[in-house]
Amino acid sequence: MAVTDSPHLARTRRTRRASSLPAAGTPGRSRRGRARAARAGVNVLLLLFSVLYLVPLAWMLLASVNAHATFKISVPSPTGANFRHVLNYGTTYRPMLNGLLLCGVGTLVCVVCSILAAYPLSRFRSRLRRPFLYTILFSTGLPITAVMIPVYSMFVQVNLIDSMPAATLFLAASALPFGIWLMKNFMDGVPVVLEEAARIDGANTMQVLWRIVLPLMWPGVTVVTVFTFISMWGNFFVPFILLLSPEKLPASVSVFTFLSAHDQTQYGQLSAFSILYSIPVVMLYLLLARRLGSGFALGGALKG
């Protein structure tokens, strides 16, 4: 492997501490040279890995502009026919709008509820707090797929199958444990001192929350919002089980029916539709990464 040297060499270079020590190993080459060689090795390795990773994506992009796409990667003479073919109300616009409605409202409900729930969890001490936090942590560890069969039988009994509001609320609820947990961790990072000043001035809890705390944690709220939306947008099983009418299905399910219906032939159109369906989340992610820096604060909030 190319993991033969440390990047910290580059940093210690300035202090000259490392180079004066006998631990340097091979006397023939300077440590700086070895560090440079190691970095080049790592670069090559990562680039090769990226190219391999990119192959499936490249196939989709090429197939979408290929009139006679197959599973073989080939560079076609570009055509917009595939996109023209799928860009109509029934194939693209309606499923996308349904998805937007389901996931947009679901995300909104989830984010507002988790902000409200995170505040008492982050600020007030109570005997119930720890057990509740552990329950939340525990439910983030439950496989949501397993709940779908009981949810289906429940919805059948109360006649909520094929109801978009019910599916939306279920999506929101299933994203809540993770949302509350992330939000609470972000809220813990907002200093309490500012709130105390506002309290002295007579602000109540809700005023403090919306006017003081939230403006200070917009990056956190954005992360939770975008993350929730992306996972809902990609969710296939929930709408697949809970919605039946073709005119209510979001893009995640319609891309699947498209896949099964046109099994042997229309790979170009399928790729075009897949690209259209993926554009919203890719754009959202790019927006987020640009504003918050890559690696966006998600990792930081996950420390527990």
């Binding site: 440390s6 990773y53 599973f71 527990g304």
Partner: protein
């Protein structure tokens, strides 16, 4: 939104006012403070706790999708049926293989390796790699499944690459379907682990690593003895989050293979779906769902306990 406007919760200081306050007087502000949690509690109770309770109950019945005969309590019948059912045992084995292979080993290790290597790489390479890996993660599940199907297909890209390298090719989706879906899941999910570990590595104190280096520790030793112990909490958290995500993967596998060929990729979620909807045995499907929930719950409890031990 309306809930926010109509809950005038008491301030935190009001509770500790008078010295001889009665229990109810202290209890009420405590309840009011918790009021903002109400919408979440309702949603969680109705849509998560409710179905789980329902699941526990119906797992012991013979409920059927089209059954007009009514639902009867059948005790442990569904479970004894399941554990005697070779299809069920097969799908438990496949699920464990899938979770351990693609999450605990695959995503976790690849994510960590990427994070470690990216720290050493030059800036443009770092952005390219993380961009590509994250792109695969952001894509919707079904699209990822479709791309991976195309990739592993007999005339697909993987065999083209192998041919180019003069390596033996095969029809992956027929000969090694479980390996194909594992790799597909690693391809799709590694970004999450990579992000978690990149953040964690950024917080490893540099002095610590440098001190180890001065003492003559090689790169492997520094990784094993310094970096990994420092980020162990992140490792646990990461495992805790990717395990249930992998346990509940449905769309990816269903798009790629539909559990086939035969039952070679029929993990528990797919088996559960087939039994409940294709064979209309809701009671049996629910029992399988309960097994899946219990497996997830066990993983969850183990990781939470480990985290708690860390705290003390």
């Amino acid at each position: 939104m309306s809930a926010a406007a109509t809950t005038p919760a008491a301030g935190p200081r009001k509770a500790g006012g008078t010295a001889d306050r009665s229990r109810t007087a202290a209890f009420l502000p405590g309840l009011l403070r918790g009021l903002p949690m109400l919408p979440s509690l309702v949603l969680l109770l109705v849509f998560l706790a409710g179905p789980i309770g329902y699941c526990v109950y119906y797992a012991f019945t013979d409920m059927q999708l089209t059954g007009t005969a009514g639902t009867h309590f059948v005790g442990l019948h569904n479970f004894s049926k399941a554990f005697g059912d070779s299809d069920f045992v097969n799908s438990v084995e496949l699920t464990l293989l899938f979770v351990v292979g693609s999450a605990v080993v695959g995503q976790n290790t690849v994510g960590l390796a990427l994070a470690v290597l990216m720290e050493k790489a030059s800036r443009p390479v770092r952005s390219v790699t993380s961009g590509v890996v994250i792109a695969a993660w952001v894509l919707p599940e079904v699209v990822a499944g479709y791309l991976m199907y195309a990739f592993f297909y007999q005339q697909g890209s993987l065999n083209a690459i192998l041919r180019f390298l003069h390596l033996p090719q095969q029809d992956w989706l027929y000969t090694l379907p479980i390996l194909a879906v594992c790799i597909a899941n690693v391809w799709r999910g590694t970004a999450f682990s990579m992000l978690v570990y990149s953040a964690a590595l950024g917080e490893v104190p540099r002095e610590l690593v440098e001190a180890a280096e001065v003492d003559g520790a090689g790169p492997w030793q520094r990784l094993w003895r310094v970096t990994l112990p420092v980020i162990r909490r992140s490792i646990l958290t990461n495992l805790m989050l990717i395990t249930p995500q992998t346990l509940s993967v449905f769309g990816l596998i269903y798009t790629m293979t539909r559990g086939g060929p035969g039952d070679k990729t029929e993990t528990l979620p797919i088996f559960m779906y087939q039994e409940a909807f294709n064979d209309s045995l809701i009671g049996y499907g629910t029992a399988i769902a309960l097994v899946l929930l219990v497996v997830g719950a066990l993983f969850s409890v183990v990781y939470i306990r480990l985290l708690r031990v860390e705290e003390n």
